[in-house]
Amino acid sequence: MHLNPYHLQIASFALINIMLALGVYVTLSTGQLTLGSAGFMGIGAYTTAVLTVNCHVPVPVGIVAGGLLAGVAGVATGFPALRLRGVYLAVATLGLGEMLRVVFIRWEVLTGGAVGFTGIPQMGRETLDMLNTYGLNPQGIGLKDNEFTAFSVFLILLLIAILTVWAILRQSSSRVGRAFSAIECDESAAGAMGIDIHYYKVLAFGEGAFISGLAGALYAHTASYISPADFTYHRAVEVLAFAVLGGIETAWGAVIGAAVLTVLPETLRFISSYRYVVYGIILVAAMVYRPQGLIDRALLRRFTAK
């Protein structure tokens, strides 16, 4: 068996980006446009970094804690966000993201400041060490150490991403999901129908932040180094582009959008420094010809109908 760690690496980053895009999608599915995803991602990443490195907490606990803390922060921002709509909310969340970035820079004792946080346990190498302590060896299944580490990171991310997609799809066809789309279509009408708008909007914000935080924590344990420069508004805009390019009508849009836009720069490597020009052109073209995104409900119906 031979696996190329390069392909697995790209697939891993694609999965993390899928999670980030899903975080934005959930919030967007109630009609709330957020640019705070990079900040929530940062909360998740720094939480697990501090917990696993300074407090020696096991990695899975750190990841869950990172997601939860980001979720709490999301709920906390969800309340004031109720007063804002559309671009005003986008600008407010942009401000929140920048504020969080400055906190990461200034809280030096904990975050290491602008220099960044090094030595975060890497999921693949941790798994390998764990196997070795049990006397197991990846050679047993015909994998070299570096192939195994890349493969285990990929598997962990794949599992979590599938769980997230599954949970969101289940939710979208449940009472909560129906309430979300009702609010997105017409808030006042939804309110008149007896839907608790405040509750559902804050819930969507919290869920989105939780997923972003989880993705951030997973990113920290994939790259093993984070710095405040990873969580700038560039990242938030990029994540929004994933969701919008893929289509915001269904969760599958976010999945496909993130996967396409992560793999695209890699496949364009052969044109070296011009690849982002082509990337930009493709983005513009996609928005002109499919303004609703690559995946919409009509396409999905055709895809699922036998």
């Binding site: 031979h2 390069y6 697995l8 960044g116 599954w166 180094y225 420069a229 420094s273 690849r275």
Partner: protein, 378 residues
Amino acid sequence: MELMKRFVLIVLLILSTCKGSPPVDENKPRQPAAQTIKIGVIAALTGSASAYGRSIVNGFELAAKEINSKGGITLELIIEDSAGRQEQALSAAQKLINSNMVAAILGPTLSTEMRVVGPLAVTNGVPILATSNTAAGITQIGRFVFRNSMPETIGTPLSIQMARDKYNIKKAAIIYGDDDVFTKSGFDTMKATAERLGITITTIEKFQKGQADYSAQLTKIKADAPDAILCSALFNEGAVILQQARKLGIDVPVIGGNGFNSPKIIELAGQAAEGLIVATPWFSGKPDKRVQDFVAAYKAAYGTEPDQFAAQAYDGLYLMDEAIRRSGTSEREKVRDALASIKDFDGVMGRFSFDADRDVVMAPLVIIVKDGRFQLFN
């Protein structure tokens, strides 16, 4: 969950294509039968660090052309863009190590990228030589990580010490950008040096990237009447700080961090740059034949004078060439050992050795801006 099944199917399909590639033993890249050796380069060719990445790649390409025309071995550079971002640098490194089977890697451009790529190179046993990382603790990542770029911790202390001796500096003010990894670590070095040399620090002022008005910080600095200002900034902010300081009537010497070491600072700050002192590993005005040949060849090829990054890259590939010739192979482990054994290598930056930690041993130069150009300071 029909959709879910399809999704899993697609993922499995993607996975199966990964398995399809032929098995290759990566610990032994193909023997140099035709004496062509693949060297990977990770550089920021797009994004905000692309100005550095361009110079760096120019330096590598010029050196490769010269080395290949000499005969013996042929170095094939495989250049990958990282856009200055960790994820991209990591993917590029995985590609070079596992798909291209390179013997060694040069780069990446930024220290932040090396923090992510370095551990990967160590686990895979691939020698990696940084030609532009200046942060502390880079080669301590592992035994396969080398660098030939002078860390801040060597250059800046010397410039401060020489300035102190010449201008009798007893107290100094520090101003630095606290939201950039480069300027922040420069500040750490300045503060430690001032304390070590017994210079009293009157005030420490911070600023952020892209700031346009520094009068608040500079007025405070002026009130304390220091003998000198230590400034850790990138050249675009640095130029503005110099101009505003001179306008406020602050005429004490300014000692800049590595970010000031660019001809652009003189272009931007003009008259205000006069008297600026910086340490540099590279000085294009050095009356040395090798240096002047390099400057002439670089000018002919790219139309500009080589900067510090081009010179470091140029020397970097020559170091790699030396290691490959010494080991007589492209085996990664042996190239590493040969690289580690290099002592007193004569490059355009001067005499160079690796220390026990594979870090830089070389004498930096201190230069001062005089009559609108950099000149040696003594």
